[in-house]
Symmetry: C2
Subunit: 338 residues, 2 copies
Amino acid sequence: MNAVNLKQLALELNLSVSTVSRALRDSWEISTPTKQRVFDLAKKMNFQPNPYASSLRKHRSRTIAVVLPEVANNFFALAIKGIETVAREKGYHVLIYLTNEEAAEEMAIASSLQSGRVDGVILSLCGSTKETRHLLELQQRNIPLVFFDRVCEELTAPKVMTNDYESGFIATEHLIKAGCRRVAHLTISMSLSISHRRQEGYVDALRRWELPCDPSLVVHCPREEEESYRMIRELFSSSFRPDGVFASVEKLAVQVYHVCRELGLRIPEDVKVISFSNLVTASLLEPSLTTIAQPAYDMGKEAATMLFRRLEKKYIVVPDDQVMLPARLEVRNSTRAV
Amino acid sequence: MNAVNLKQLALELNLSVSTVSRALRDSWEISTPTKQRVFDLAKKMNFQPNPYASSLRKHRSRTIAVVLPEVANNFFALAIKGIETVAREKGYHVLIYLTNEEAAEEMAIASSLQSGRVDGVILSLCGSTKETRHLLELQQRNIPLVFFDRVCEELTAPKVMTNDYESGFIATEHLIKAGCRRVAHLTISMSLSISHRRQEGYVDALRRWELPCDPSLVVHCPREEEESYRMIRELFSSSFRPDGVFASVEKLAVQVYHVCRELGLRIPEDVKVISFSNLVTASLLEPSLTTIAQPAYDMGKEAATMLFRRLEKKYIVVPDDQVMLPARLEVRNSTRAV
DNA sequence: CTGTTAGCGCTTTCAA
DNA sequence: TTGAAAGCGCTAACAG
């Protein structure tokens, strides 16, 4: 059994192909009874218009590409979900490409996307990308590009990212409001600008609440687990130990957890912990480890929305070229069932 | 700047469109010098053939669809990665569709896939799906369908899934080899057949090692956290408490962890734990909680491979219509850094 | 309201 | 070894 097409429908109905086409697109130039006949037969024969014929003719594919460095990662997985949700709403299809953090793959993909296969692209840069010519070429072909999370500063394009400053602020403020007076900040060197912005948020939150900003409370942890653990233990061994911790990655929060166990400190009674995290780990581990996560799903939706706004030319000027969503607190109210 | 096409190349080179087309496809009927000229100009002008024109003409899109119930889940995320990897190797593109566990969405998607948009489909059934007509119709349109993980027993189609029996066996055997003599099995009612098969594996591993199979060691935990926690605590309060636990979901492993803390049992000295898990949670929590996970990435690759084998008609009979991959043990050697 | 016609960009006979 | 021409299935002028 092969696909049914307009011609067959037309033949069957004694109509011309164009009439059938118009009827199916519910054109006002077609009489209601004719439309009805067409609709009925189309449904009966389960007619599905060939999207490629239509794309070829109309120079638009109703398809977008999502290019991500990886997907085995809750953040990007949720992003896909967000993107797919609004894409489907709009009747678009989503092609997915993974660069595996390889600049070369990113270039190859971007280059192949110049074929007209997609109407627009949502992309998160891979870490190793240095050049941006391949992205510029996309734009020159009038294929709208929206950056997602890992944006490219040099290019003029809509960008959706996390507001790291605000996230740091929110996280710190959460601890302060919970009664902490000596809030530590644990960080590893991620992208430096990200770390810095989170730290600025942390510092400003302390200022805002008129708390002293003790430099010894900011610990830059090394990648090596043992060394990192040692530094955290030292931090908590001091008589001026923190009563709150803002960890910029989950791994550090888990280390804090183990340090506290070792030192006999109770969480959250003695030490309150909040951690950046895109996994479910921390909160499963210990419900009182509050989590602050990038709003991946919303960011995906936002990116898609920005892209479609461009695709559908529903704008003249573009006021919101850059969207920064704050991370979201996830205070688990899950009972530990004790 | 708009896309460059065959016509433009032909004009520029004083050749016919068909010659250029053939040259680019490296046809043997074209002289080497001509080919060279064509290649050079194509590269210079960054020619990207319009895939839709080609699809329309050749009735194949070099595109597959991946239909999943969700993706905010490490298992499916990894699966996508596996699928995308082999798809790219083969020069195929991957469309992604999420059903959000809604049978209605699954039907709508499957139905739209009859349009010829894709050459094949990899699908994981959503929980609520009862009917399978939409899938049958796909097959009738000669669109190969491969089931992934959540397979459909009624339909004849290649299936890739986890070998739950073997997984249960492996997990249990792991504990026995580690010295456990009273291995408990904690389970929630997932799909019953899955639970059953894992349990059979568990039972057979005990038999194989000539250990008694005490029914009181198999606990079916309810969904309610408190109740589940209570049952687990009771299990461990007995004087005949288990010295090993095979948890069929991560949540139960975490509960075991908390029960042990409450009762002063040490992990892994007093109780060894192994848990089914597609998250990173358990092992981050407590390195000694060995994890056994579905080999999502490999399953994805396998499913894609099976699909492409059909698409490329490289088979006459299909010997491997059903592949069952065993789950994979992940014994973390991460130091807890104490 | 409906039909005729001319493509979209590519592949593929068939002819030279 | 190359070119001319037809056509994949659909859309959109344009004409009735």
